[in-house]
């Protein structure tokens, strides 16, 4: 008995399934009998065509049309239908979007990032608009240098990003781990960098960058800049102040070495001015000789510490080693050199001050005397020439 009823149940279930399966397909096929036509348009001229093959291979390929287009029950359906509500399934994402910079659903429908609604693929699929290697291009439709960016006063960041080290890693090496837009900004819950909750708010940036660059962030947290930011002093630099946000360069590159000294100088003005008086700066002011010491070559880049801290590369005990990295044979006397000496400051550098004064006086007095001497001479000898040989215009006196 038991066996017989089991068989019966199985048969019924099978029969139901075989009937039901063509039914699901049937519903989609019914819609496609019109919508598969590539030229089909709605009343206002928008294409309402669906590529059946693409749709079936998409992540939503197993759904029926009516699962999303819930307003449509029968055929013929009304000309205007209510828009599809993605949040009926994707509630978490919709909650994230709410209050984000893209929170206005009318301006930023899901499809503006995820692409064609009937061809949405999982983000691990290279065909997806939000596949890591495709994200920058997707975001660039608005945040690129053309179109929307200008209209809405958005920063055109895509060209900066794509030529950065992250952009190269992504576009040239195809590295899935290369930072793309959403690695830093997040995906659905993107907040303005002015919002303290934002991943790109100044004090949150070390943590955001640290999600990949953990070692650097650990160094940074130890240094004076990291400590200041942690205490809420937002004048202190975070990663993006030195490296920029989007146009990040390889720090050993000539371009970065030459552009970033003035960045330190934008806060450390006095140090920058005295640095400029030195050979390090004069020689390194341009590309082509980038080896000369920049700020961080001596001070450290991320774990910047004052000279009073024994861990600092500019602590007196470490100077021979620090200078010795470039100057082979550096000794205790050599490191007494002052890389920020100010020859204009009599109190700080008296010897230098008086040497400069002496040299300037020498220069001024020699030149003044000889300029007067020469000018008088010129006038007198020309006068003499003309007086003696007026007929020849004074030639060859």
């Amino acid at each position: 008995m038991k066996t017989a009823s089991s068989i019966m149940l199985t048969l019924i279930a099978f029969a139901l399934l075989t009937v039901a399966t063509p039914g699901v397909a049937q519903a989609t096929v019914d819609c496609l009998s019109c919508h598969a036509d590539a030229g089909i348009q709605d009343g206002s001229g928008h294409s309402v065509s669906v590529d059946a093959q693409k749709f079936h291979s998409s992540i939503h390929g197993s759904l029926k049309c009516g699962d999303c287009h819930t307003a449509i029950k029968d055929y013929p359906h009304p000309d205007r239908v209510t828009p599809v509500k993605c949040d009926s399934c994707h509630a978490d994402e919709a909650a994230g979007l709410l209050g984000s910079v893209h929170g206005n659903g009318a301006e930023h429908p899901c499809t503006s990032c995820h692409g064609d609604a009937h061809a949405i693929f999982p983000k691990e699929d290279p065909r997806s608009a939000v596949y890591p290697l495709n994200i920058p291009r997707t975001c660039s439709t608005c945040h690129g240098d053309k179109g929307m960016a200008k209209q809405h006063g958005l920063a055109s960041v895509y060209p900066l990003y794509i030529d950065s080290i992250h952009g190269f890693a992504l576009s040239k090496e195809g590295l899935l781990v290369a930072a793309n837009c959403q690695s830093c900004h997040g995906s659905h819950h993107i907040l303005s960098h002015k919002d303290p909750q934002s991943r790109t708010y100044k004090s949150n940036i070390p943590k955001t960058c640290g999600s990949c660059h953990a070692g650097i962030t650990a160094d940074y947290d130890v240094g004076v800049h990291g400590k200041a930011v942690a205490k809420g002093h937002l004048d202190a630099p975070v990663c993006s102040d030195c490296h920029t946000a989007h146009a990040i360069l390889q720090p050993t590159e000539a371009a970065f070495r030459t552009q970033s000294t003035p960045i330190c100088g934008s806060c450390h003005k006095e140090k920058f001015s005295t640095y400029r008086d030195t050979f390090h700066s004069q020689l390194g002011a341009l590309g082509g000789y980038v080896e000369t010491a920049r700020c961080w070559d001596c001070h450290g880049a991320h774990d910047v510490l004052p000279a009073s801290d024994p861990r600092s590369p500019i602590a007196p005990a470490n100077l021979v080693a620090t200078c010795g990295r470039c100057h082979a044979g550096a000794n205790a006397s050599f490191v007494q050199y002052q890389p920020h000496a100010n020859a204009r400051n009599r109190k700080l550098n008296p010897a230098l001050y008086f040497i400069r004064l002496f040299m300037n006086l020498l220069l001024a007095s020699v030149l003044t005397f000889f300029v007067i001497h020469t000018v008088l001479w010129l006038i007198r000898s020309r006068y003499d020439q003309i007086k003696r040989r007026p007929a020849e215009g004074g030639k060859n006196a």
């Binding site: 002052q338 230098l352 040497i355 020498l362 300029v371 007198r380």
Partner: protein, 266 residues
């Protein structure tokens, strides 16, 4: 004949390397100025500039050492007269002081024109200015080049001082040569547009007599004028010298203008 081949060669080496040093030193001194950056990038960056600067410096140092050796060989070993003192020497003497004041009086019409000997006081000043400059700039330059070595016997602050000394003394040399020396020696009406004697070695007897009457009179009284007579320089030498000389003066004047503009803007 006024200058021997060796003297003319020395002057040629001197002004060639000096132009090289000035041309590569100025962009370093005024590294923030637009022309310095443009120039640097056009010749292959500051690495190239520094290389040429050092190259010229080494050549000039060798020329300087050769000159010093030559002076001492002639003066001490060959016992040549008039090297260290006397009317043909570069050493300053009482007559130079009198000539300077006499010359100044003549400028303003208060006295007769002084009668100059072989080397007039401003020529001696040029010589000793270059001599002193070479020691000062050379020493401070090598101190920067081989800083760790020099630091074994110099205090650390001296390494700061040498840059100040090097750049200020270099600036003085550049301003002096490209304005005072150019005008006094080449552009003044008596020699305008260029005194060719340093290139060809010879000048006309008339020019000699006008410019250095006392030397002329001395040679005449000693009966040595004949020995000084030399052949007229070959046309190619005169033309070649003109091209080289005018190029040097042109480069010098351009550098002078750039220097003054950058210096005044600082």
């Amino acid at each position: 004949m006024r200058f021997t081949r060796a003297q003319r060669t020395l002057h040629a080496v001197l002004f060639t390397t000096f132009l090289g040093l000035a041309g590569t030193g100025l962009p370093l001194r005024f590294s923030q100025s637009y022309w310095a950056r443009r120039f640097a990038s056009s010749v292959g960056g500051f690495g190239a500039i520094l290389f040429f600067h050092k190259l010229c410096a080494v050549v000039l140092t060798l020329a300087f050492l050769y000159h010093v050796k030559d002076i001492f060989t002639r003066g001490l070993i060959h016992r040549e007269k008039g090297v260290f003192w006397g009317s043909t020497s570069m050493m300053g003497n009482w007559k130079d002081v009198k000539d300077l004041f006499g010359h100044l009086r003549w400028f303003v019409g208060l006295g007769p024109k002084p009668q100059f000997e072989r080397y007039a006081y401003w020529e001696k000043f040029d010589y000793w200015a270059v001599f002193w400059g070479m020691i000062v700039i050379g020493f401070s330059g090598y101190a920067m080049w081989f800083a760790p070595f020099f630091a074994t016997f110099l205090p650390g602050w001296a390494l700061n001082a040498v840059l100040v000394i090097h750049s200020e003394e270099g600036l003085l040399a550049i301003l002096f040569i490209f304005s005072i020396h150019f005008v006094n020696t080449h552009l003044r009406p008596d020699s305008f547009p260029m005194d060719m004697v340093i290139f060809t070695g010879v000048e006309s007897e008339e020019e000699f007599k006008t410019k250095r009457p006392e030397e002329y009179a001395r040679l005449a009284s000693q009966g040595k004028l004949e020995a000084r007579i030399s052949e007229k320089p070959a046309i190619w030498l005169v033309n070649f010298s003109r091209v080289v000389g005018f190029t040097a003066i042109l480069i010098g004047l351009v550098l002078l203008i750039l220097t003054l503009s950058a210096y005044l803007r600082e």
